[in-house]
């Protein structure tokens, strides 16, 4: 693995891909990888993009990437696609939905299938983002589809969070408002040439007025991605947010929170692994669980007992993590 990290440091793209795969596949070496690359992170600006299907996100992202590229930035893109619940397989078609980006050598594009992870995807995605950051990519764009909890969790890892909607969503707009709109920094109304664009803008402005938390006033940008309209304005809005983050110190605060979150999550991962392993291997614990299954003991009481047993073994240097 040292060879791989070495190649990674020397900007070998294949090495980057391999490391990402190892994280995707839950490799046992994952912790080592993350520890090795962590010091190199912190320079990239991460942009999270989501929205309902049909909003034209891919086209928009494609055009935005061109703006970044024109300013000499290297760009990484992470496209999240749903895995089939039944087969576990996935159709990763995002590359070709972008007219230009996938052909540009200055862009690194990776598709990521959710693999039924539900709540668990966001941490994987955040690790992959960190690896791309450590690789030296100036801008990283994470694109997901949908407006649910999973998408919200993912784009929480971004510095600038962008939600793309379109006119004519009807009920979907309500669902949008209930969840993800709360956390966005930039709102885009794409396909703005369609009737109803102004209604969406009005709707969003009302919601923002009622939202009192942040010091940053989320911007609303109208675009027609297919016609190349509004892209420059969007690019500038993103830059403004980026500047705001660094000037106001909010950026540092968010990054700090993410470090903490990573740490907490790592702790939880270790604990979970340890618990699972203990349950599998320690006879004493297996017996307790059997009793739980038979209904002979209150599950909550059993939990306390098992915990005590695990801690005792751990303290006595028993089960290795």
């Amino acid at each position: 693995m040292e060879m791989l990290i070495e190649r990674f440091r020397r900007k070998d793209r294949l090495a980057l891909s391999k490391l990402i795969t190892m994280v995707e596949n839950n490799s046992p070496l994952m912790r080592d990888i993350m520890e090795a690359i962590y010091p190199l992170t912190g320079k990239a600006h991460v942009l999270g993009v989501t929205g309902p299907p049909g909003a034209g996100k891919s086209t928009l992202v494609d055009k935005l990437i061109r703006s970044f590229r024109n300013e000499g930035n290297s760009v990484g893109v992470l496209c999240v696609d749903p895995s089939s619940i039944f087969s576990g397989g996935a159709f990763l078609g995002d590359r070709v939905r972008m007219e230009w980006a996938y052909r540009d050598d200055g862009v690194y594009l990776r598709s990521l299938a959710t693999r039924g992870a539900l709540g668990g995807l966001a941490p994987r995605a955040s690790e992959i983002i960190k690896i791309m950051d450590a690789f030296g990519l100036d801008v990283i764009i994470v694109e997901t589809v949908g407006v649910g909890q999973m998408e919200a969790d993912i784009i929480r890892y971004a510095d600038t969070r962008m939600v793309v909607s379109v006119p004519g969503l009807g009920d979907q707009m309500q669902a949008l408002k209930a969840g993800i709109l709360e956390i966005a920094d930039v709102f885009v109304v794409n396909k703005a040439d369609i009737n109803g664009a102004q209604d969406v803008v009005d709707d969003l402005q009302t919601m923002l007025y009622l939202r009192k938390d942040s010091q940053w006033t989320p911007e609303i940008v109208l675009t027609e991605a297919l016609n190349d309209k509004g892209i420059m304005e969007l690019y500038r809005a993103v830059q403004r947010h980026r500047d705001y983050l660094s000037k106001s110190g909010l950026g540092e605060l968010q990054t700090g929170k993410r470090h903490e979150h990573t740490c907490r999550f790592a702790i939880q991962e270790v604990l979970k692994k340890c618990t699972d392993k203990s349950i599998e291997e320690i006879n004493e614990i297996k017996v307790i669980l059997q009793t739980v299954r038979e209904g002979g003991i209150n599950p909550y009481k059993a939990a306390d007992e098992i915990l005590k047993a695990i801690v005792k073994i751990y303290v006595n240097g028993g089960v290795s993590e």
Binding site: G56, S58, T59, F91, G93, V96, R97, E99, L226, N227
Partner: protein
């Protein structure tokens, strides 16, 4: 262009108009009663109970419609089939029996074989070979780069030049292609599938004619110019939006109708759509909806319906379900007549004719025991002739493996010639007419096609049904279901999933001259050096303007050809002005 939601469905219009028609009594009621009694008695006493239980059978074939068939058909099946209303005499409304009174006695089905491979000079030789062996027309196929409008020096073209069709990039290539061939005499079906590539390639043929001193009104032939192919059937990394593609299609039609009067400006698909994976019923419904969209647009542009309808032609696929194939041709002829008469109020008979070219199905042919494919194509060809097509192409037996060899091409031609000259079937018009089965199935198919037309109308019409992905999904569903059926052996294909013998592995297939890619590249390079690039730039700019301003595009692409623009250069202008369309995903 979008269908007015207040408009009546075509089915409704037809129903209203046919309601009051006088129907003669086909059979004497007493006679019918006797027949019925005889039939009932037969069912009770002669037919085995098992057979009675399974009275309806559904033949499962490749690209079939899964229409149930009764075990036997009798006068009762066609008791109300008024001859005048449902059949008519050949050459008389409703044209079920044929668009001409004497059909093949007067004019045989044109025997045209697809030709095209390598560079222009390679194909030129093959054309001459086929003409010398009795082919009565040229059916020209281009290579993938040309079809998809990539010049041979585009990175996408690398390695594909000349492999399954002829490579042409500019007018000089055309002149080599037709060297020594009299285009005033020979009709050419130029397989330019799409509106976009028709707009770029056909003008080159016209400019070539100009240079040979042949006036355009002497040119005879056809192009495909079909939006179904560009937007629905083809695989591509880039599409222009359906409404713009439709506009180009209509511009092409308008220009050609005005300036090249003997040329068939569209061959409504049909074939490729069905081959992708759908039934014969859907194939015809989509083609009909397409035809109607064109007529609506031309009327909107201020033309009389007949002006375009007179020259509309269809291009069908010929599948393996023998009677389904015969009957749907008859059904479509009648249906198209009714649509043109009652919905569009066409004034001439010519406008109501469903004239068509048919190609036997390529998808029905398999690799194993390839000579079996000759038999399959023969039956498909026979059905087509019994169904009354105007021209025919028989697929070669090695179609499933590569571009046809000379020998295979010849056999295809012979298939048609044997049908025409040895079987005697062309001495009678509509020989299957009057068969209880054939008439009953013809009626059934007409109903089904009309029902699917109504579905498309509910989507907002043909263009919208493409834009919103409805038709794509329909294909996908049919295709995956059929694939399953073949794998499970429910659809039997002899030698492939049924009665396998393992033969047919040692097969010498056609080799195309691979060096043509280098030759074409060199030729293109020289062409670009020798032409006046300032004029090229100007012509392309004018084309750009015409696209934006809604002018007729073909007027400008003709000009582009005159100054030596390539196909790829013109396609780039379309993409630039119209933008790219994100095709809805199939799955």
């Amino acid at each position: 262009m979008t269908n007015n939601k207040q408009e009546k469905a075509t089915a409704e219009i037809l129903r209203e108009n046919l309601k009051g028609t006088e129907k003669g009594q086909v059979y004497d009621p007493t006679y019918l009663k006797k027949v019925k009694e005889g039939l009932d008695s037969w069912k009770e006493n002669v037919v085995k109970p098992d057979a009675l239980k399974n009275w309806d059978a559904i033949p499962l074939t490749v690209l079939g419609s899964e229409i149930p068939r009764e075990m036997v058909y009798t006068p009762l099946s066609v008791a109300n089939n008024d001859y005048g209303e449902q059949l008519g005499n050949p050459g008389e409304e409703p044209f079920t029996r044929g668009i001409h009174s004497n059909m093949y006695r007067g004019r045989t089905f044109t025997q045209r074989q697809l030709v095209g491979f390598g560079g222009p000079e390679d194909t030129n030789q093959r054309i001459k070979y086929l003409l010398n062996h009795g082919a009565t027309g040229i059916n020209l196929l281009f290579d993938m780069p040309t079809i998809q409008m990539y010049d041979c020096d585009d990175p996408m073209a690398t390695g594909s030049v000349g492999s399954c069709g002829v490579s042409v990039n500019h007018v000089k290539d055309w002149e080599l292609l037709y060297d020594g061939i009299d285009i005033a005499k020979e009709t050419s079906s130029i397989v330019t599938h799409y509106p976009s590539n028709s707009a770029c390639l056909f003008p080159m043929y016209l400019v070539m004619a100009e240079k040979k001193g042949i006036p355009w009104d002497q040119l005879k032939g056809s192009i495909q110019n079909d939006m179904t192919l560009e937007e629905l059937v083809r695989n591509s990394s880039e599409y222009i939006p359906p409404k713009d593609c439709f506009r180009i299609e209509c511009d092409n039609i308008e220009f050609i109708r005005k300036n090249v009067p003997k040329w068939n400006f569209i061959t409504i698909n049909g074939y490729n759509f069905r081959e992708f994976g759908t039934s014969g019923v859907t194939e015809m419904a989509v083609a009909a909806a397409h035809g109607m969209a064109i007529l609506d647009e031309m009327v909107r542009r201020g033309y009389e319906v007949d002006w375009v309808a007179e020259r509309l032609a269809f291009f069908w696929s010929g599948g393996m379900d023998f009677f389904e194939e015969v009957c749907r041709l008859r059904a479509m002829r009648r249906l198209w007549y009714r649509i043109l008469k009652y919905k569009y109020k066409a004034k001439n008979d010519r406008s109501t004719w469903m004239r068509c070219h048919l190609q036997t199905s390529g998808i029905s042919l398999v690799r194993e025991e390839p000579y079996n494919n000759i038999i399959r194509s023969s039956y498909e060809a026979l059905a087509a002739v019994l169904g009354g097509v105007q021209s025919l192409h028989v697929d070669s037996y090695d179609e499933a493996i590569s571009v046809p060899s000379e020998e295979a091409s010849l056999i295809s031609l012979r298939t048609q010639q044997i049908i025409e000259h040895e079987t005697g079937i062309t001495s009678v018009v509509d020989p299957l007419g009057g068969s209880y089965y054939v008439e009953a199935l013809t009626n059934e198919m007409e109903e089904r096609i009309l029902a699917e037309i109504s579905e498309i109308e509910k989507q907002g019409g043909y263009v919208e049904a493409i834009a919103n992905g409805y038709l794509s999904r329909k294909i996908f569903n049919y295709m995956t279901k059929e694939q399953m059926r073949i794998e499970k052996g429910e659809i039997k294909i002899v030698g492939h999933n049924f009665q396998k013998s393992g033969q047919g592995e040692d097969f010498e297939s056609f080799r195309y001259p691979e060096e043509c890619e280098e030759i074409q590249l060199q030729r293109l390079h020289e062409h670009k050096q020798n032409r006046e690039n300032a004029k090229v730039e100007q012509a392309l700019n004018e084309l750009r303007g015409a696209c934006k301003d809604g002018k007729n595009i073909m007027e400008y692409t003709v000009n582009c050809s005159r100054v030596g623009c390539t196909v790829g250069e013109q396609w780039k202008v379309f993409k630039e002005v119209f933008g790219l369309w994100k095709k809805p995903s199939m799955f």
